[in-house]
């Protein structure tokens, strides 16, 4: 088959993963949040309510697509696509196993961050095109907080790149193989040098993927549904799908950078190489579970508090930490 055909198939595979992941994650979110609130979540459709999200997708597809009169038509139609495409792009560099990946990019880490950095544009577009004050407020909040946290997110992972000597996500995973004293895995999360890195990464990636303690762009208690207020039917579906997909991406990125990606040190190498993608997905979904747990536990912060934390705390801390870990890595090696 030609290279072009293979590339097209790979894009389709990423799209399939993204859609399937959306259906699974909506069900998971409802169940996890339900049990955190001491209730059951969906139980009626299918076994334990598993078919509920499938029904919801069908409902979204058949609903009326309302376009309010005052909207900026072109931008209003374009915005869901502009939110969706970068989210799909971001799958390209993720290493699902040593052989299962869409591309093998030398600057895969930078690529993933680049894709993530395009998301606020679509949100801003949706917010402005809707011709609604709440929407615009939501869009502006999204843009402001994502610009503020892009910097610490990028800076925070630099110590890992310095230690590994590569920004290729596959190489970063390979550097985490093996164990300390045959028990502790050689994951970067075990290394005390990367604990502050991990904390900054968690906060910044929660902000970047619009997760609940920081989801001021759609805070339903203050601005209706933010940038998504005027959207209905599948346009709304696309906006939401991208949101879940971004959550998957940051979780997968966290697993790759800190939890050894597809590797599992306690199993023999042949088993690991066969089960790589499964291990990777399980770890990623564990990460998503933790994010949902945070969502069900913490109250939403105020927008000015988020901005202050980003600009005045996280950026200086991550800068200082880069210098410190640079010195430590130099002295060590």
């Amino acid at each position: 088959m030609s290279t072009l055909g293979i590339s097209a198939l790979k894009v389709l595979a990423a799209l399939g993963l993204m859609l399937g992941n959306g259906v699974v994650m909506i069900y998971m979110l409802r169940k996890v949040l339900g049990h955190l609130h001491i209730r059951l979540g969906p139980i009626h459709v299918g076994w334990k309510g598993t078919l509920q999200t499938v029904m919801d997708v069908l409902k979204l597809l058949t609903k009326e697509d309302v376009t309010p009169r005052a909207v900026d038509r072109w931008l209003f139609r374009l915005a869901p696509a502009v939110v969706f495409v970068p989210s799909l792009m971001a799958y390209a560099a993720l290493p699902f196993s040593d052989t299962w990946r869409i591309t093998n990019l030398d600057s895969g880490l930078l690529y993933t961050f680049t894709a993530l950095s395009l998301i606020p544009i679509g949100i801003l577009m949706a917010g402005w095109a809707s011709a609604n004050k709440w929407s615009l407020l939501g869009g502006m909040r999204a843009a402001a907080q994502q610009i503020a946290y892009e910097v610490p997110l990028l800076l925070s992972v630099l110590p890992i790149v310095m230690l590994v000597g590569s920004a290729n996500l596959g190489t970063i995973v390979e550097a985490q193989q093996g164990t300390f004293l045959a028990v502790l895995p050689r994951w970067f999360i075990v290394n005390p040098l990367f604990w502050p890195t991990f904390l900054i990464f968690v906060v910044a990636s929660l902000v970047e993927s619009n997760q609940t303690p920081f989801d001021m762009s759609e805070a339903e208690s203050e601005i209706v549904a933010g940038f998504a207020t005027e959207y209905s039917a599948m346009k709304f579906g696309l906006l939401f799908l991208s949101e879940f997909s971004n959550q998957f991406i940051v979780s997968a990125l966290g697993v790759t950078l800190f939890f050894g990606g597809w590797t599992l040190p306690w199993l023999p190498a042949s088993v690991v190489s066969a089960l790589g993608p499964v291990i990777f997905l399980i770890k990623t979904y564990l990460g998503i579970f933790v994010m949902m747990w945070i969502r069900g536990t913490f109250p939403r912060v105020r927008i000015d508090q988020v901005m202050q934390l980003g600009w005045q705390r996280l950026i200086p801390i991550s800068l200082v930490w880069i210098v410190f870990s640079g010195i430590v890595i130099k002295v060590w090696s």
Partner: protein, 168 residues
Amino acid sequence: MSSTVDGIVFLALAFATIGGAVMMLATRNVVHAAFWLLEVMLATAGLYMLLSAEFLALVQVLVYAGSVAVLILFTIMLTLRRREDAIRDFEPGWGAGILAVLFGGALLFAVERFSAQMRPGVMPEVVPDVAAFGEKLFTSWAVPFEIASLVLLVALVGAVWWSGGDGQ
């Protein structure tokens, strides 16, 4: 990839770049103009990608599309007092016209005069990877690199001082 595919991609990207720039100037809505500018930046990144300049393309998207364009949009939306203010009349003015003609003339003259001396660059057989680029940047180009970062730092400090801060 074959040269036909490359050619098609190049034509599409070139059209997107120039067409986007024309649309940016032609539209009367400042927000639309900002989005067209963003489109031009993305298409330019695509052209870099076509030249196998992977790192440059990524940085172009990350810095220009992901941050500068968002900042421009943010500023426009923050300073528009009413939604209707986004649409501006077409008011060319003589000064701008003369400037455009002068610039066009200078460009045309330069192309006429020097195009004979300029040869199209030849792509190397093996495209150097990002690691090689980094090594070059931090060894033979270390001083210009540091000077550039110093200039940016001065600009940053200047901006903070200019905007006043808390104590002033």
